[in-house]
């Protein structure tokens, strides 16, 4: 990094005599030490405990135990860790951290004395007049948070944090050779301000005498904002964040049928599990809805043609969900749109037994349409009993409105689909989570509440990644699914299903329509025709871009990212040569940012990745060991429990390519397992 990074560690050990005094008040002390924050992250352990033992000398025998807790002031995670500790015979707790950590721990223990073994320090130039806050960076600039910003008067140099006397009306008489009388290493702030204003052609305004209002901000203002913040952060489940939703671009656009492609590229593997076996030969004519790929084994899914025409080839094509090629059936449209005779409405489907329904779902090639693409017939045959079905109507990714429009325009079909699944799973109770950014959908669903009384619609405050299974289960049922890779929702008696999947199930069972088309949202920046389109599986992405873009398609990827999915977890396309698959929830076009993630940058231990991880992990370690090339160490920090939601990478102040490191470390762990 070009810029020099400072060490803003917020505490130092107390003087030895004071530590001695503290230990005289205790018989046995358990020591907690914070892993520090706001310094370049270079090593996992800072050696504070060893330092303490050295200081203690003989008193070290009074230490009952020690635990390092990273980001001690993160109340949720640290609280969990501390409550799980065996404190042995200790009668007191000693804390090495800044005052926040000490106060937090003291608040946890009502009956046990908690002692500070450290002093908190400030790093501002201007202390003690002002504590200057450095923001989320390790550079020199700091802000006094005076709530009455003077920067517009001073050319952007803060007089409160930079002037030792916090003067607001020009320099005092003490500066010598441009240096401050208090600290001769430091430039006089007002000399700097004068120079800056001169450069800008602005005169110092001597007319108005500035005085500071120390009653601002009022305690009430700060307290209200703090309460708002805690409420918002704690909503529903630990972690997550609130991206700009950008739903309004397409929220009100009705689902529109997208033109059939001239050539359909239908991948044989659009699901978790084994690739389907092609059952058509080049030269054969196929019809809409005709099965062209047979499920290969139990964890696999059938593939159907989305157009009528001639099957040209089975060949490798760029896959949209991963940087590799996959086998695809290529079909040339004959323009006849002829439906296969197997596509027939089914009367009396309500009476069908569970096995028959599962067979239809399997034959129809239905997989999880929320993006996971897990074969639905397999999912609905869980090894453990399920007492609740959760319907995921969250759609927490920015820009996407696929599920939203389905809930508005095909409300009853979705509810009927839910009914079918209830029969399969023998489940009475259904909770449907819909984020409150979809008021029309919630209203539409409520209109049917009498007809479908077992489905309870719950309006949820928006927070990413609420739509992730574990977060949704926690939010709606307050149940904790055991962590990956082994834990799954049925471990706590729950099944989660996406709104789009349920619609597809209804279509398959009631209308005999197999999986050959789906709704996708095309949205983002630079589009002339954003919208929610019903597209045929296998429609080339280039076709869609040509229709929706305001500019020329060629050269698009030089300035823009095209992501399959939403803005956060969407998979960036390396080229426009791929096609729509069952898991394509949308195509999001975003102008590329001047600064992207990198594997080179240093972590500054701001602790935000830890705050946003819905799996309660510490992602900064994945970054540290990724950068140091010590991939195996990431396992010690539970990298296999990561669900790759992208929250950590999104919030990272240093823009570290955390997902890339995580994927490398998981791959390493998998190969280490096998090897």
């Amino acid at each position: 990094m070009e810029t020099h990074l400072r060490d803003y560690t917020k505490f130092r050990p107390k003087p030895a005599e004071e530590i001695g005094e503290v230990f005289r008040r205790a018989n046995r002390m358990f020591v907690l030490s914070c892993g520090k924050c706001y310094k370049v992250f270079e090593q996992e352990d800072e050696g504070q405990y060893e330092q303490l033992l050295e200081t203690l000398g003989d008193d070290a025998s009074k230490v009952a135990g020690h635990k390092r807790v990273d980001f001690l002031c993160n109340e949720f995670l640290s609280g969990k860790k501390i409550s799980g500790l065996d404190l042995g015979d200790s009668d007191s707790i000693g804390v090495m951290s800044c005052g926040l950590g000490v106060q937090f721990v003291a608040g946890l223990f009502e009956q046990t004395p908690v002692y500070a073994l450290s002093d908190s320090v400030a790093h501002g130039l201007n202390y003690p007049s002002e504590v200057g806050y450095h923001g989320i960076s390790l550079e020199d600039d700091s802000c006094a948070a005076c709530s009455q910003c003077y920067l517009n008067l001073t050319g952007g140099i803060c007089p409160i944090t930079n002037c030792a006397k916090g003067l607001l009306n020009g320099p005092c008489g003490g500066a010598t050779a441009g240096k401050c009388e208090v600290n001769s290493d430091v430039d006089c702030a007002w000399v700097r301000i004068h120079d800056r204003l001169t450069k800008r052609g602005e005169l110092l305004s001597f007319g108005y005498v500035h005085t500071r209002d120390y009653s601002r901000p009022s305690w009430k203002t700060q307290n209200n904002l703090s309460l708002q913040n805690r409420e918002s952060r704690g909503e529903g489940f630990y972690g997550g964040f609130h991206p700009l939703e950008k739903k309004e671009v397409t929220a009100d656009r009705r689902i529109e049928q997208f033109a059939e492609p001239q050539t359909a590229v239908i991948f044989l593997c659009q699901h978790i599990g084994k690739r389907a076996r092609p059952i058509v030969e080049p030269g054969e004519m196929v019809k809409v809805g005709q099965k062209i790929g047979e499920a290969d084994g139990f964890v696999s899914a059938a593939i159907h043609s989305s157009i009528s025409g001639k099957m040209i080839a089975v060949e490798d094509r760029p896959y949209p969900a991963a940087p590799r090629k996959e086998l695809a059936v290529v079909i040339e449209n004959d323009g006849k749109a002829e439906m296969h005779p197997s596509v027939q409405p089914r009367t009396g489907y309500e009476a069908l037994p569970k096995e028959a329904l599962l067979e239809i779902i399997k034959e129809s090639g239905i997989v999880g349409l929320g993006g996971a693409m897990f074969p639905t017939h397999v999912k609905f045959s869980p090894p453990k009993p399920v007492d609740t079905l959760l319907v995921n109507g969250c759609e927490c990714e920015p820009y996407l409105n696929t599920d939203n429009r389905l809930m508005i325009e095909h409300t009853e079909e979705i509810l009927a689909g839910i009914g079918i699944v209830q029969r399969i799973l023998s489940v009475d109770r259904v909770l449907m989570g819909v984020e409150e950014n979809k008021p029309e959908a919630i209203a539409a669903l409520s209109r049917f509440s009498d007809k479908y009384p077992s489905v309870q619609v719950v309006s949820l405050k928006t927070k990413y990644p609420q739509g992730a299974e574990r977060s949704l289960i926690k939010r709606l049922l307050d149940r904790d699914v055991p962590p990956p890779p082994k834990g799954l929702p049925f471990d706590v008696g729950v099944m989660v299903s996406n709104v789009g999947t349920l619609f597809a199930i209804y279509q398959a069972v009631a209308k005999g329509v197999p999986m050959f088309q789906r709704v996708i949202t095309v949205s983002g920046e630079g589009l002339s025709r954003p919208g929610n389109y019903l597209v045929k599986i296998g429609t080339p992405i280039r076709d869609i871009m040509r229709h929706c873009l305001a500019k020329d398609v060629e050269g698009l990827l030089e300035e823009y990212d095209v992501k399959m999915g939403g803005a956060i977890m969407g998979i960036p396309q390396a080229n426009l040569d791929s096609a729509v698959i069952k898991g394509t929830t949308g195509l999001t076009v975003l102008r590329r940012h001047p600064v992207g993630v990198s594997e080179e940058r240093d972590c500054i231990k701001c602790g935000r990745c830890v705050e946003v991880c819905p799996m309660h992990l510490y992602p900064l370690f994945y970054g540290l060991y990724g950068k140091q090339g010590d991939l195996g160490k990431a396992l010690e920090h539970r990298v296999e429990e990561c669900v790759e939601c992208g929250c950590c990478e999104y919030i990272c102040a240093s823009k570290i390519a955390l997902l890339s490191f995580i994927r490398q470390e998981k791959a390493y762990a998998r190969s280490a397992d096998k090897g």
Partner: protein, 203 residues
């Protein structure tokens, strides 16, 4: 952690009146607090021509700001005034990278308790360099007492609330209750010596 409030329009207008504007908006601390709608409303209400807008996070990182300035160079050149919506750190960084341009901030910055993470705390740390927590059952009188008393409470403590705001807890009442629970009430009679306000960061 730093949070911002949008300045009153009357304060900003004289600085930008009839000028071509380029706007920088920092969303890095949005999850702490950033008044998105208010900012949008203000920007939307301006008559001035906006030649460009850069939305980014962590404007306080010099390296990022540099890249954004490069990427938006033509528009920034065209602008007469650069208006920044960010905390004071980001505003200062940007101002220092555009030294000879007119850069103004549209925000006031305030502080919510807590240094790291995104969640504000119910307590605070005064970073004073002489932790007094061992005599107060683990509550900081420097940061949480309106008069930063070391020998509190004062005579204005009533029903556990501070005289400054009837909703604000009196930390010395809380300290008293804590020490009572810990059986350390005699500590309340310890005479806290005058604070060395210059104890931080030097020894």
């Amino acid at each position: 952690m730093l949070a911002v409030q949008i300045k009153a329009k009357e304060e900003i207008l004289p600085l930008i009146s009839s000028k071509r504007l380029f706007i920088f908006e920092c969303l890095g601390c949005r999850d702490v607090h950033y008044p998105v709608e208010e900012a949008q409303e203000l920007i939307g209400s301006l008559d001035e021509e906006i030649v460009g807008k850069a939305t980014l996070d962590y404007l306080c990182h010099r390296d990022y700001s540099r890249e954004y300035i490069k990427a938006y160079a033509p528009e920034i050149d065209e602008a007469q005034v650069i208006l920044v919506f960010s905390c004071g750190v980001g505003a200062q960084v940007l101002s220092s990278l555009l030294e000879d341009r007119k850069v103004y901030t549209g925000c006031d910055t305030l502080y919510l308790s807590g240094f790291q993470g995104l969640t504000a705390k119910e307590y605070n740390c005064g970073q004073c360099g002489e932790c007094y927590l061992n005599y107060t059952g683990g509550l900081c009188p420097v940061a949480l007492c309106s008069k930063n008393l070391l020998n509190g409470p004062c005579g204005g403590s009533q029903n556990g609330k501070c005289e400054v705001d009837p909703d604000m807890p009196c930390v010395w009442q809380q300290i008293y209750d804590r020490l009572a629970r810990l059986g350390q009430l005699e500590t309340m009679e310890r005479l806290g010596a005058p604070k060395r306000w210059n104890a931080s960061p030097l020894q």
